[in-house]
């Protein structure tokens, strides 16, 4: 692991945002936090992360809309996306979220630290 990876965390729950940030920072990752889809897209303009941890059910922009925005912009093509979700079973319209090549994993809430760290390490 040469360079520190930058990871953007998008979750509407501040405590989740905080805890995940703490775990990742303790494990030597740089984090960018966004509390919703709008903020996520806003911050992506400033800096492009290596990994995007994206909550599926959020108010405001839907995951679909975020994914569409990322898919459209070639600058974002290198971002690996991991979904975080409390909904363990996807409805049909959400299932095609996984079809995008950049989506590499899917972590159900609540997750263990190990699951989280393993998923991020696998993106290498």
């Amino acid at each position: 692991m040469g360079e520190r990876k930058t990871i953007m965390i998008v979750d509407d729950e501040p405590d989740v945002l905080l805890s995940v940030g703490q775990i990742l920072e303790a494990n030597n990752y740089r984090t960018i936090k966004a509390k919703d889809g709008h903020e996520c897209l806003e911050k992506l303009k400033e800096e492009i992360p290596d990994v995007l941890l994206l909550d599926i059910m959020m108010p405001g922009l839907t995951s679909r809309e975020i994914l569409n925005a990322i898919e459209k912009d070639s600058r974002f093509a290198g971002i690996k996306i991991i979904f975080l979700t409390a909904v363990h079973m996807l409805e049909a319209e959400e299932e095609d979220l996984l079809a995008l090549k950049q989506v590499v994993d899917f972590i159900g809430k609540p997750f263990t630290m190990r699951e989280l760290l393993d998923a991020i390490e696998k993106t290498d």
């Binding site: 989740v16 805890s19 775990i23 363990h88 079973m89 263990t112």
Partner: protein, 633 residues
């Protein structure tokens, strides 16, 4: 003989010739006397015509001999008297002789012709008589033959009741030979001897009787029903001398009639006691039959015109099926009677009569109650449909509720677990032993809470029929091994040994992850309820077209009543056990749902205190049906 010739009746030929001879002699004497003694002053030759006519009548044309003879005598006497001179007198005599000859011939000819025609007539008459005699004989023979060969009895009984004639038919029917009964009284033939007198009296009074039914006894004593026709026999003067009787054995007919009557009575009884109405109407709309039910309901209308009495119409009802039914079709329809406020299911069938006409048979089934019940059911169904809609809404809300709840429950669990794990891992500085233990307890219960949420979600999906199974080719044994591996630490902790006996199995089509969940659950239960230091035995085998999994423990066992609720949700046999053994009570219900989604079966054999064996079987050739979204968890 009325047409006979006047003289033809004279019987004796000799007398004829004698009279003729006397007449001739008288003429000769007269001729001689007048010619020679009296002279010729008187006309006497007229008398000569008497023998001539007699001879002509009796001897026909042979009368000319008499004429020649008398002519010759007359000419000769005249000739002699005139001294053999050819005078005018002689010529006159010759002329008279020729007149004699002509007259004799004429009378003879006429008489002969007349006699000829009489003879011919006589001959014809004789011929006719002979012919009619032949016919008469023929008729008599014919009648005799008929009488002899008749199967009916033909007997003659005189006025005193004595049998005078007895034909073959009577022998056959009665068993008596003619020589046994002719000359004896006929009273013995009747079952009731008084019948003999009654019949005799009746025949005499009426002149004849027809189809008189009575019972006679055969020689062997067997009674026979007969139908008798009889007539009085009279002699030439018209005095009755006896009766001729023709009787027919109608025992079979009487028996048949009795049977028909019995059957008709039975049929009638059936029709009368039927709950359904039975109704027959003729081609011309005349009511022929109504059974008791219908008579009770509509009054007795037999003989009336149906449309008039039942429908108050002047013409047949437009809906009437009679025209098509009498053409051989059957009909079935519902009829509501305003008069009695009842609905009938009508079945109409053509009924062929003996005389070739066709009537309409209608069976009335009162379906008023059924109609009401159907209406009631329809109403209930509508209500039920509304309720189902409500229920569907409730189910949908329950689903949404569970989904939201689980999401909302998991959300706080996420930072809790993250923070605790960071504490446990020493991210927040070193922990002492007590702190570590405390955090372990909290984390263990967090895990349990998470599992409970997962189980509740699973069971709600199973109940809603929305369980997601991703079918793939898989090895059951591999899944079993994996599950064992996962449960090994727990078994070790409980000092239980897991022993596996896995047979070679074909691959099956199934969801390995879901089946592992089932097997883990069964293993976990077995270990949980097993005694310490005991074995839990896991087996797999192929049974026909299924793979079978079974797991046996020697634990506390399950009673019969508990077995029934075992696979139902939230049914852990008693709730204290749940706490003691750390289960949610949903595991077996979820297992059942998963196995059923594989078209398999799950069951248990157990005896209280003696351990349990859980089984599940899955068909090998299970088709892949991936109509549902795969489960991700």
């Amino acid at each position: 003989m009325e047409n006979r010739h006047l003289f033809a009746g004279i019987p004796r030929e000799k007398m004829k010739s004698l009279i003729l001879l006397i007449a001739i002699l008288a003429c000769v004497i007269l001729d001689v006397y007048v010619t020679f003694i009296m002279g010729k002053e008187i006309v006497y030759t007229h008398f000569f015509y008497i023998p001539l006519i007699l001879a002509g009548v009796w001897y026909h044309t042979r009368a000319i001999y008499v004429a020649i003879f008398l002519g010759a005598v007359h000419v000769l006497t005249t000739f002699i008297h005139t001294d053999f001179g050819f005078s005018i007198v002689t010529l006159e005599a010759v002329q008279r002789a020729f007149v004699f000859l002509a007259a004799a011939y004429f009378v003879g000819f006429v008489s002969r012709e007349h006699a000829k025609s009489l003879l011919q007539e006589e001959k014809r008459r004789v011929e006719e008589v002979r012919k009619s005699e032949g016919k008469l004989k023929e008729t008599r023979d014919y009648l005799n033959n008929i009488i002899a060969s008749s199967a009916d009895t033909i007997t003659v009984v005189d006025m005193k009741g004595i049998v005078r004639d007895w034909n073959k038919g009577a022998e056959g029917i009665m068993g008596y030979r003619a020589d046994e009964v002719v000359g004896t009284s006929n009273r013995k033939f009747f079952a009731d001897p008084e019948e003999a007198d009654r019949i005799m009296e009746l025949v005499q009074k009426e002149g004849e009787i027809r189809d008189y039914r009575t019972i006679v006894l055969r020689k062997d004593g067997k009674p026979i029903h007969i139908s008798m026709s009889a007539a009085v026999l009279k002699d030439k003067k018209g005095v009755p001398i006896g009766t001729v009787r023709v009787s027919r054995d109608i025992t079979k007919v009487v028996e048949l009639e009795a049977r028909i009557k019995a059957e008709r009575d039975n049929l009638n009884l059936i029709l009368e006691s039927m709950v359904d109405g039975v109704y027959v109407v003729s081609e011309d709309y005349k009511v022929e039959f109504m059974n008791k039910v219908l008579r009770h309901e509509f009054g007795n209308r037999v003989g009336d015109i149906c449309y008039k009495v039942f429908h108050n119409r002047e013409k047949p009802c437009p809906l009437c099926k009679l025209p098509e039914v009498t053409k051989g079709k059957t009909a079935r329809w519902e009829w509501y009677s305003r008069g009695v406020n009842k609905t009938y299911d009508l079945i109409e069938t053509p009924l062929k009569n003996v005389d070739g006409t066709v009537s309409k048979l209608t069976i009335f089934r009162d379906i008023t109650e059924r109609k009401k019940a159907e209406e009631e059911i329809r109403k209930l169904n509508r209500e039920l449909e509304l309720k189902v809609v409500d229920l569907e809404e409730v189910t949908r809300m329950k689903s949404v509720f569970l989904s939201l709840t689980s999401h909302e429950l998991r959300t706080p669990l996420t930072p809790m677990q993250a923070q605790l794990q960071m504490l446990q891992e020493g991210y927040m500085g070193r922990l002492n032993k007590k702190q570590e233990d405390s955090i372990a307890v909290i984390l263990r219960n967090l895990t349990r809470l998470d599992k409970l949420i997962n189980d509740i979600l699973d069971i709600s999906r199973i109940e809603a029929g929305r369980i997601k199974i991703s079918f793939e080719s898989m090895s059951l044994n591999d899944t079993v091994k994996e599950a064992i591996k996962m449960q090994e630490p727990f078994a070790k902790k409980k000092n239980v040994k897991i022993r596996a006996r896995l047979a070679e199995l074909p691959t099956i089509i199934g969801d390995a992850e879901r089946l592992r969940q089932v097997i883990s659950n069964l293993l976990n239960n077995a270990i949980k309820f097993s005694k310490k230091y005991a074995d839990v035995v896991v087996e797999t085998m192929q049974v026909e077209e299924n793979v079978l999994f079974c797991i046996t423990d020697d634990g506390i066992g399950i009673s019969k009543t508990d077995k029934e609720k075992l696979f139902k949700p939230f049914s852990q046999i008693n709730s204290s056990m749940g706490r003691e053994h750390g289960g949610t009570g949903l595991g077996l219900a979820i297992a059942k749902g998963i196995i059923q989604a594989h078209s398999g079966k799950i069951w248990v054999e157990s005896e209280l205190g003696k351990g349990s064996t859980f089984y599940f079987s899955i068909p090998i050739k299970q088709k892949i049906t991936e109509k549902e979204v795969p489960y991700i968890g």
